[in-house]
């Protein structure tokens, strides 16, 4: 990822800043500039998500691209945030621990490092909310 590509999403990656359509009330994280339901009739405003949610589905990955191979095995999950939107994320827990419906909360972690001399990509991951 180039420097600019990471940088421009810092509010989203660090603080789950998504968007909300004021017309239908739907919240979007990842953010959308157009409400897929109201389209041009919608009104999109920024919306910060709380970081609380639950696991809808998951997998424990034993194989990954080179970028994430140091994390193997890791839990990948689709998480429904309490605002109703869904996000795909690394879930930091023991593989045996994860289950559908598990409550989770967001944490601040390193997503990826560009080698030993490139930039460090920080962002949001999730952990069990005990």
């Amino acid at each position: 990822m180039t420097v600019a590509r990471f940088w421009r999403e810092i509010p989203q990656r660090y603080n789950l800043v998504g968007t909300k359509c004021e017309v239908c009330g739907d919240v979007f994280f990842p953010p959308r500039a157009i409400c897929p339901h109201c389209r041009r009739d919608g009104k999109i405003v920024p919306c910060q998500c709380s970081g609380k949610g639950k696991v809808l589905t998951y997998s424990v990955l034993s194989a990954a691209s080179d970028q994430f191979s140091a994390l193997k095995p890791y839990v990948l999950a689709i998480i429904e945030l309490e605002e109703g939107t869904r996000v795909t994320s690394h879930l930091i827990c023991e593989p045996e621990e994860v289950h559908i419906g598990m409550p989770v909360k967001s944490v601040f972690r390193v997503l990826d490092r560009e080698g030993s001399d490139g930039i460090i990509h920080y962002g949001t991951k999730f952990v069990p909310d005990l």
Partner: protein
């Protein structure tokens, strides 16, 4: 709108083709298809090439022109060539563009090619991850096995699919692949082969996953009314459908249902004026075992949640009620991503001509294909019949 027919089909053997380059794969399949169609270069009006990621697999863009050049249609004949991309549905979509070009009257004889040279790159997992939402899925650590594994997790949770039923998809596809001389894998396996293979992304194991393959497949289409000038066995295109969905899996209302497959399937059946029971066999996009189960449900052949049992009962194997993936599917025939959609059509052509050899579906009259891009953000579906 003119009716369209397939008049020729050719493919390379799929597999780890270490000694064959991207362009040589295209040439090999292209020549086979042109010979099969009995078409001369001068008669060709246009070429569509489906390739998911030549740019990242072999560092080559502009592959429409490259392929046209190396099959002898570039320099002297100046045939227009267009690359088509929709991830793993690139092949199916290239075919759909060829059908559109002919049915609209813009072109007469059109080639649809699909190709991928995947083994020249080290980290193919990362290249394939580009078929998902790079920003919000891949950067979060999602891989394709991981995304389909999350579909499988959801499906198993909702419908009680057993690990054995899932394994049977791969067993059946290897049974078919063993009867296809062009398949990447031509060996039969057992459920224990699948269930004892290494975990890739739980619950999916290595033998639930299609392999990384090199290969190309090419078909030739023309107006149905002219088809008999080239062949005695033209195959009529009864429907050409395509549908889209959200790029990311997490935005789907039901992870176990591919909305684009449902939409494309319904559209195809409407176009062909056919019922589900009219289909004799189907080639579906089994990039992972779970995907085949979802596909035959979402196309409407069996109710949601019952494909595992249907498969376990042998109904999707040769001789069953609905033979699925007689080519071996992506699992056994191999999955050079851009080539897969064209290979599915190649297989339908073999079956409808009665040239399926040891894997021939008895009395095959109508065949269907379903080709998926990503986790279902693009689905292309075609129905074919003997003309």
């Amino acid at each position: 709108m003119r009716e369209v027919a397939v008049i020729g089909a050719g493919m390379t053997k799929f597999g780890e083709r270490w000694d064959t380059s991207f362009r040589d794969l295209c040439t090999e399949a292209g020549i086979a298809a042109l010979e099969d169609a009995n078409v001369a270069g001068e008669q060709i009006d246009a070429l569509f090439v489906g390739s998911m990621s030549a740019g990242r697999f072999v560092g080559q863009e502009h592959v429409g022109a490259l392929v046209a050049d190396y099959v002898g249609l570039g320099g002297d004949l100046h045939v227009p060539a267009t690359r088509v991309e929709a991830a793993c549905a690139s092949g199916g979509l290239a075919f759909r563009q060829a059908v559109a070009a002919v049915s609209s009257g813009m072109s007469d004889v059109v080639i649809a090619a699909g190709v991928e040279k995947m083994t020249d790159v080290g980290d193919s997992t990362d290249v394939l991850a580009g078929a998902a939402d790079r920003e919000w899925e891949s950067f979060a650590g999602a891989t394709f096995p991981g995304l389909y594994a999350m579909i499988a997790c959801d499906y198993m949770h909702k419908y009680g699919l057993t690990r054995e039923q899932l394994a049977q998809v791969a067993v059946k596809n290897h049974f078919h692949g063993a009867r296809n001389p062009f398949a990447h894998f031509q060996n039969e396996i057992t459920q224990s082969t699948v269930m004892n293979s290494t975990l890739v992304a739980s619950p999916l194991r290595l033998f639930d996953c299609s392999p990384v393959s090199d290969g190309a497949a090419v078909v030739v289409v023309c107006p149905l009314e002219k088809a008999r000038e080239f062949t005695d066995t033209p195959i009529k295109v009864l429907a050409s459908a395509q549908a889209g969905d959200t790029i990311a899996l997490h935005d789907r209302p039901d992870f176990s249902t591919m909305g684009a497959t449902v939409a494309a399937g319904n559209s195809a059946f409407r176009q062909a004026k056919l019922e589900r029971k009219d289909i004799d066999f189907v080639e579906v996009h089994d990039c992972f075992t779970i995907a085949e189960l979802c596909a035959i449900e979402d196309l409407g052949f069996v109710p949601k949640g019952t494909a595992g049992k249907f498969t376990e009962q042998g109904e999707t194997q040769l001789g069953g009620k609905l033979p699925v993936n007689t080519s071996g599917g992506l699992k056994a025939c191999g999955h050079p991503v851009g080539a897969t959609g064209i290979k599915q059509i190649w297989e339908v052509v073999q079956q409808l001509r009665g040239e399926g050899g040891k894997r021939q579906v008895e009395g095959a009259e109508i065949g269907m294909t379903q080709n998926v891009g990503g986790t279902g953000a693009t689905v292309v579906s075609h129905i074919f019949g003997r003309a």
